[in-house]
């Protein structure tokens, strides 16, 4: 494994010049092989740890939102496979590539799959060989969620067709060393949750299931299953070729590598940018052309993240640990710049109403609690919130957080409670004077009209 990147260079940070997104157009198979060559073989045995060791050394973490160490996830599947005998039989484990991003303000997985499909497919094959998988699935939304982020990039058409063509094109070159199946899943916020993908592959609906068992222990076809975000897998494809030391040339010590970040809202050039982790949030905003209007706050991490007032951005680094310390999150790489002309309470009320509508209705506290929460947020933004109303939000927060099979209720409750804390002065103003004129500003946070799965 060499220390140099493709073309013998280290990656650059300009838009469209990154490791994962090397150009503006689609990197087809010929161009991909020119750039990177075929994916290397590990030392051949199922469960061989050399790639997993490299992933550990690289410090790669999941790019789907949770930021869990990828090496540990790979090992968990290997161990479960060994315990269940799957590693020593023809049966094998399963790899699921999650490209079905449901976070409405995120578009980076779609961009990655459109522009660099073969990096993701290589990563699937390499991860499959590392965990002894005999089947792999690439999950994408059947149709893109409408009303996502405006701005450049590919049109929001279904990815399934082009990806199937990409898989077939590799067949002739023998690159699909493990079979790859493209699976299209119905839209909906919770449908891309990892147990939902596993449930769909198993013939059920794309809705979350109860844990345990975790997919790593018992997932698709009742076998140990590795579910990884597509950007994580693309990074595995690069680490397998260029090594952990090369990977760490980007990023900082606590968050190595690059990240794809969807920047939207009041910026001049919204879109997906590949940046070094640990770079400044303000530099990313400049990369996106700078503010298009006087900004007041940033939503970092999407609906699982939190608001940061502009003054909190001074010197703030873009990485999961750094943003968590600041009270937000990197999530799946989402930055939304909220203009001063918009009302943060109205924005959040819309977002919470959207999240409430995305409940699969499986868990009582989520099904019954989120509409109450949405109603409270509506009245806070558009009415005259009294103390009782603020107290209600705290009560519902306590009643729904952690009580669903998935994290949807935690997300909605966290966003609502976090907003009331960050914009306390705004809440007070609404309480004293009623709704501000800014509630009529066009909605900045996306709330696509998705039908739950």
């Amino acid at each position: 494994m060499g220390q140099q990147g493709p073309d013998g260079t280290t990656r650059q940070d300009q838009h469209g010049q990154g490791r994962l997104l090397p150009g503006d157009g689609t990197v087809d198979l010929a161009a991909h092989l020119d750039l990177h060559g075929p994916p290397p073989f590990s030392d051949g045995r199922p469960g061989a740890v050399s790639l997993i060791d490299q992933v550990d050394k690289a410090g790669l973490t999941g790019r789907g939102g949770a930021g869990f160490p990828t090496g540990r996830k790979l090992r968990a599947v290997v161990e479960a496979g060994r315990r269940g005998g799957a590693m020593h039989s023809q049966v094998g484990t399963v790899v699921v590539a999650n490209g079905a991003e449901s976070e409405p303000a995120s578009r980076k997985d779609r961009q990655l799959l459109s522009q660099s499909p073969h990096l993701v497919l290589d990563g699937m094959v390499l991860a499959a060989e590392a965990v002894g998988a005999t089947r792999t699935y690439l999950c994408v939304h059947a149709a893109a969620p409408g009303g996502a982020v405006q701005g450049g990039g590919p049109p929001r058409e279904a990815l399934g067709g082009p990806l199937r063509e990409a898989v077939v094109s590799r067949e002739r070159s023998g690159l699909n060393r493990v079979p790859i199946q493209v699976v299209e899943i119905p839209g909906g916020y919770v449908s891309s949750q990892e147990t939902a993908l596993v449930n769909l592959i198993n013939g059920g609906r794309a809705v979350p299931t109860f844990v345990p068992p975790r997919p790593a222990v018992r997932g698709a076809h009742k076998r140990p299953t590795l579910v990884q975000n597509v950007e994580t897998l693309a990074n595995i494809a690069l680490i397998a070729r260029y090594g952990a030391d090369w990977f760490r040339q980007a990023g900082d010590a606590e968050a190595p590598g690059t990240a794809l970040v969807t920047v939207s809202g009041a910026v001049t050039s919204p879109g997906v940018y590949e940046v070094d982790l640990g770079s400044r949030v303000t530099d990313l905003i400049s990369l996106a052309g700078g503010p298009a209007a006087d900004p007041q706050a940033v939503l970092a991490g999407g609906y699982f993240g939190g608001w940061l007032p502009m003054q909190a951005l001074a010197g703030l680094r873009l990485s999961q640990p750094s943003l968590r310390r600041a009270g937000a999150s990197l999530g799946p790489g989402v930055i939304v710049l909220l203009p001063a002309a918009a009302c943060p309470l109205a924005e959040t009320a819309h977002a919470v109403a959207y999240l409430a509508g995305q409940s699969a209705g499986q868990c009582g506290p989520c099904k019954l609690g989120l509409p109450v929460l949405a109603e409270c947020m509506q009245r806070i933004a558009f009415g005259r919130p009294g103390r009782d109303l603020l107290g209600s939000v705290q009560q519902v927060f306590a009643l729904v957080a952690g009580r669903g099979a998935c994290h949807l209720p935690d997300s909605a409750a966290g966003l609502a409670a976090g907003t009331l804390a960050v914009f306390e002065a705004e809440v007070r103003r609404h309480a004293e004077q009623g709704p501000c004129p800014r509630v009529n500003h066009p909605q900045v946070l996306p709330a696509p009209d998705l039908v739950p799965a």
Partner: protein, 80 residues
């Protein structure tokens, strides 16, 4: 699987739970009702003296939504 020294905790499978409420009748020491009638479990391991009652509540649940699981098997629900 349920070794003598392994602590056990109660968990509700929120998908299976239909708020029949038997668990709160049978085990009020550890289970309370939320405003909608769904069970709220007191966190932490089940005290040894309550284990027989906890087992009875688990058996009585009509939707098999109440579970006694090893305290070290408490996987967090995964994110997307």
């Amino acid at each position: 699987m349920t070794g003598r020294n392994v602590q056990q905790t109660l968990r509700v499978n929120p998908i299976a739970c239909d708020s029949h409420g038997l668990c709160m009748e049978l085990l009020p020491e550890l289970v309370a009702a939320d405003p909608w009638g769904y069970p709220i479990i007191r966190p932490g391991p089940v005290p040894a003296e309550l284990l027989p009652l906890a087992r009875r509540a688990v058996t009585a649940c009509p939707t098999l939504a109440l579970l006694l699981i090893r305290a070290d098997d408490q996987a967090d629900p995964p994110q997307t």
